[in-house]
Amino acid sequence: MALETLEFSLPSADAPNREAMSHPTLVGVVGSGNCELLLTTGGPSGQFSAAVETSALGFAPIWRAVLDDFAGSHAAGGLRAEIHDVGATPAVVALRLGQAYERLSQRPQQEAAHD
């Protein structure tokens, strides 16, 4: 039994209110078919970075595809995602990314812990 840890850095347009998005958001649950995702600011401009810890081994290319898709369709430059995964499907991962991003953008003044 082992855990796989993966690190990605993908180009992405800078998040527009990066300075105002100063509070991290945590979504999801570390449960079967699910994942927990922590989204923070303070990363380098123009890059969306992600660290993945997963018990589902050998899916690096799929992670890259999902994260790349997110980085391309969202202004996520300067953001960082930390993901703790127990076999979530690409759809669930994309959902969590979207939820966290929406939450982070909507409530810049308050700590956004959700779902």
Partner: protein
């Protein structure tokens, strides 16, 4: 999100507390994760499955925690437990209007075995310290995983409980009982039966839950506010309160003897069957059962009618002989015969190092059932009344809690939690409390007795454990060979007193030859050296290198004011 059942832990806290009042104590970017799960190839969660918050409830300051049932069944591991301990000790400092604890858990996290058991014990100790200080601790139970095992005990240590019909509360899960005693004892796949024995409605009927609500966060919130504002909830836990609860549980056990299901309970109370009551909302159910509940709450019964046991009776003479042998080997002087009971428990007044000591215990690996727990509570209350300040020595050789459907229905977790309250109450009254594991000490049976002693010891060869490895393998789905290997490599898994010493729970392990001398040294101190609100096990575990996270996690939550 309106349903508590469907909400995550964080959503539950957001739904319960006043809007925009929630702050999560530790920044979410600061992980407090399990150090033990990577070994099993499992990712750890940022908050180790329990979310914490400071906030307000109806404008009053509260501290709150919610277990995440979706992460390893909400079970309690080292860091998870430490976070709860930190919250409860913070409550002792800040004296909020209440501590809210949303329970959803299977109990001790088997993936962390020994560390999990000690963690549950530390939470229990801290929670009871809050009770002794008059800080209301309100439990909420309504998640799909229910509240079982060690957390079933913790829930019943709370000042009050709010449950929904969907919630379940008990000591041992039906699957565990079925595995050990067969499907006749408890068919875990019979959902109506499971809910008739452990569900919110039957718990409200018996008075285990103080409030029954529909599965809406807003209803949980309102019920919690009402409880928080009730004057009696601020009363510090007292011997009088323990005695009153004892009378209640004795009367319940007497009245419901022979009942093994909600059907039989309904019949005995003159109520319509559970099926007829099934479709009622919470308010309708409470209205329909109001008279029955009031009757149960006011019932009195003599102890003899409640002393029935779920386990086959043992031979008294043999028990007395075993007890006498054990007491002799420990250098204790006492008058024969030892007062023994057919369920395997015993008590005796003895002399150790020239000082009187009350000795209570369990022999021959007997199981702790409701009657044994209630008898021991009575003995501890009498000890405090008749012999103020006399030390208590608990000698333990038990297989843990009785795994019986009838016991679950009676509220085994309630009786065992009452035993835990009695031990802490003795400590608060200045009695030195010492425990010694002489044979086996398993899970719940040890949690509510020896683990709460100020000074805990074990004999060489004694086995302290959570669960046998094959059962652990079945529940966690981790291959048995892997668990066996881990038992050799990791102190977290191997049953055994030396691991519990290294992890800081046991002060020391004694060989048979030195036990009498060591015990005399301990008893010579004669009085409790520590206040009840002082649990040094985390610090000891850190010093000995067996449990390295707990102390740091607790300190971090307490912040700059950490003691």
């Amino acid at each position: 999100m309106t349903s508590l059942l469907e909400a995550t832990a964080r959503q539950r806290l957001e739904g319960l507390l006043d809007p925009s009042s929630l702050d999560s104590l530790i920044p979410l970017t600061e992980p407090q994760r399990s150090p033990h799960l990577a070994l099993l190839g499992l990712p750890a969660a940022q908050e180790d499955g329990v979310s914490l918050a400071r906030g307000s409830l109806a404008g009053r300051p509260v501290l709150a925690a919610a277990q995440e049932g979706g992460f390893l069944g909400g079970a309690v591991g080292e860091v998870h437990g430490a976070r709860l301990v930190g919250l409860l000790r913070l409550a002792l400092q800040e004296r909020p209007a209440a501590v809210l604890l949303v329970w959803e858990s299977g109990g001790v996290r088997l993936h962390e075995a020994n560390a999990g058991l000690i963690a549950v014990s530390e939470v229990m100790s801290a929670l009871l310290d809050c009770r002794l200080a008059g800080i209301p601790v309100i439990g909420l139970v309504g998640g799909s995983g229910g509240c079982f095992g060690g957390t079933g005990l913790l829930a019943r240590c709370c000042s009050a409980l709010v449950m929904s019909e969907e919630g379940r509360l008990g000591m041992s899960g039906p699957e565990v009982i079925e595995t050990v005693h067969g499907v006749e004892e408890f068919d875990s796949r019979n959902r109506p039966l499971v809910w008739q024995v452990t569900g919110g409605k039957v718990r409200a009927l018996l008075g285990e839950a103080d409030a029954l609500v529909n599965d809406r966060l807003e209803e949980f919130r309102q019920a919690t506010i009402q409880l928080m504002l009730s004057p009696s909830i601020r009363q510090p836990l007292s011997r009088e309160a323990i005695r009153a609860e004892w009378r209640l549980l004795v009367a319940r056990r007497a009245l419901l003897e022979g009942c093994r299901s909600g059907e039989e309970v309904s019949e005995r109370l003159g109520l319509p069957s559970p099926a007829a009551l099934a479709l009622l909302t919470a308010e309708e159910y409470q209205a329909a059962t109001a008279d029955a509940r009031a009757r149960l709450a006011g019932l009195q019964a003599p102890w003899e009618e409640a002393s029935w046991s779920s386990e086959p009776p043992r031979e008294l003479e043999a028990l007395q002989a075993v007890a006498a042998l054990r007491l002799d080997s420990l250098g204790l002087l006492f008058a024969h015969p030892v007062e023994a009971f057919t369920d395997g428990s015993f008590q005796v007044q003895a002399i150790c190092a020239g000082r009187p000591v009350a000795v209570m215990g369990v022999l021959e690996g007997a199981a702790v059932d409701g009657a044994m727990a209630l008898r021991m509570v009575d003995q501890m209350l009498l000890l405090a009344d008749r012999f103020p300040g006399r030390p208590l020595l608990m000698l333990l050789d038990t297989q843990g809690q009785a795994l019986r459907r009838a016991e679950e229905l009676m509220g085994l977790n309630a009786s065992m939690a009452l035993l835990a309250k009695a031990v802490k109450s003795l400590r608060a009254a200045g009695h030195l409390t010492v425990s010694l594991v002489t044979g086996r000490a398993v899970s719940g049976g040890y949690l509510c007795t020896g683990m709460l002693a100020e000074r805990a010891f074990a004999l060489e060869g004694a086995e302290v454990s959570v669960m046998n490895l094959p059962a652990m393998s079945r529940i966690t789905k981790i291959p048995l060979e892997r668990l066996e290997a881990l038992s050799r490599e990791s102190p977290v898994f191997a049953p055994g007193s030396h691991n519990y010493a290294r992890m800081g729970h046991l002060e020391a392990v004694w060989s048979g030859a030195e036990a009498a001398t060591r015990l005399a040294e301990v008893m010579a101190t004669g009085e409790a050296r520590l206040t009840a609100a002082c649990d040094l096990r985390a610090v000891r575990g850190l010093q000995r290198g067996g449990r390295t996270q707990t102390a740091a996690v607790v300190e971090r939550i307490l912040g700059p004011a950490a003691a």
